[in-house]
């Protein structure tokens, strides 16, 4: 293959450039490491379990923080487990939420078994069919840059499936202390502990 597929770390670094007040939540596995590799941040909420929940955590954040942009960074396998949530999210339709799926068509964390996406299921078309405002399949860095602008625009419910290569990157591990990460996000958003 001559035309290079996007590298996941390059994509996430671009999406998180000049992030400002952006709130980010990540699906377990590589997307959490990718977001951590781009720089730990007190507005990052990393999931280490509850597979399928990245999008719903993002929805809860978007609904409770309408003044902020919220970005979900997850993988195709994690998103497939929460596919029904796309319908739930589309019914609420917050205009400050973007779901970015890093789609390599495989379950990277468990040994690169092919996922439904790798069998041809197009997650962006699923999101389109449940009436997300804007959906796209992104295959180049110009598309990633366009998505970056949309993340901050707060004018649409967005979904992008970003085709990436299957290369595995070094694991850059965020904290696995869920209470600490939770309280750090809440403090960054101005809330006090009980």
């Amino acid at each position: 293959m001559t035309s290079a597929l996007l590298n996941r770390r390059d994509v996430v670094a671009e999406l998180l450039k000049d992030r400002g007040d952006l709130i980010v939540t990540t699906g377990l596995g590589s997307p959490s490491y990718d977001v951590m590799a781009a720089g730990d941040h007190d507005r990052n909420y990393y999931l280490w379990a509850a597979m399928g929940s990245a999008a719903t955590v993002g929805l809860g954040l978007a609904m409770s923080r309408p003044q902020d942009s919220v970005l979900v960074v997850t993988g195709d396998g994690e998103m497939l487990m929460g596919m029904g949530a796309l319908a739930t999210i589309a019914v609420q339709a917050p205009r400050n939420l973007t779901i970015a799926v890093l789609d390599n068509g495989h379950y990277g964390e468990t040994g690169m078994q092919r996922s439904h996406a790798g069998h041809g299921i197009e997650l962006d078309r699923v999101a389109q069919s449940v009436n997300f405002d804007w959906t796209a399949r992104i295959t180049d860095m110009a598309g990633v840059q366009d998505l970056h602008a949309r993340i901050h625009a707060k004018n649409a419910l967005n979904f992008a499936a970003i085709t990436i290569d299957v290369a595995e990157e070094e694991r850059v591990l965020p904290s696995r202390d869920g209470v600490y990460i939770k309280n750090r996000v809440r403090a960054a958003l101005g809330q006090t502990s009980f």
């Binding site: 509850a50 597979m51 955590v57 954040l61 609904m63 409770s64 029904g84």
Partner: protein, 182 residues
């Protein structure tokens, strides 16, 4: 809220009390999979512009949703049926590991006068399953128990980051009418 039925003895409108107690606790998000036992709360929340009513395709979506809402500073509730508790089990790791407050109100099946035996397997282990996953449970059998149990559960959830569930028994809800369409 008291209602006076035709025979003159006041009875407690526990279905309305659920909405009222949750409002008192400043619940801003009501996530649910519909059930007849929750119909009053679902309708009242739908009419309430201060509350986001979030219909779910499956109950575990509510675990993630309410965690996100809490990160953003808001309290919420998950309204579900006992069968839906089974759908939540693995996702409850999110609540346990990150100590998110969680308040569930569960309408029971399979524990009294159950006509559909397919409801029995999950209904009869709902409370044990919740307990195994670290969720505290309280069972309301009578109308006068609902308000107090819900108030206590909400206090422990929102003031102490606990996972709490109030189970509304079938004896409380009443026997399901299977032939009402005829």
């Amino acid at each position: 809220m008291l209602q006076t039925p035709s025979h003159g003895v006041p009875s407690i409108d526990w279905k309305a009390q659920i909405y009222e107690v949750l409002k008192e606790f400043d619940v801003k998000h009501a996530a649910y999979v519909p059930d007849a036992g929750h119909s009053t709360a679902i309708e009242r929340f739908a009419e309430d512009e201060a509350v986001h009513s979030v219909v779910l395709t499956t109950e575990e979506e509510g675990i993630g949703y309410l965690a996100g809402a809490w990160l953003g500073g808001d309290r919420g509730v998950l309204l579900l049926q006992s069968s839906g508790v089974g759908n939540c089990i693995n996702t409850l790791a999110l609540q346990v590991c990150a100590r998110f407050p969680l308040l569930m109100v569960v309408t029971m099946r399979g524990d009294w006068a159950e006509f559909n035996q397919w409801q029995n397997p999950m209904g009869q282990v709902t409370e044990a399953a919740l307990n195994l996953m670290g969720v505290r449970t309280w069972r309301a059998e009578k109308a006068e128990e609902v308000e107090g149990l819900l108030r206590g559960a909400a206090t422990m959830a929102f003031e102490g980051d606990q996972a709490c569930a109030v189970l509304l028994s079938q004896q409380l809800i009443g026997k399901k009418e299977w032939n009402k369409a005829k």
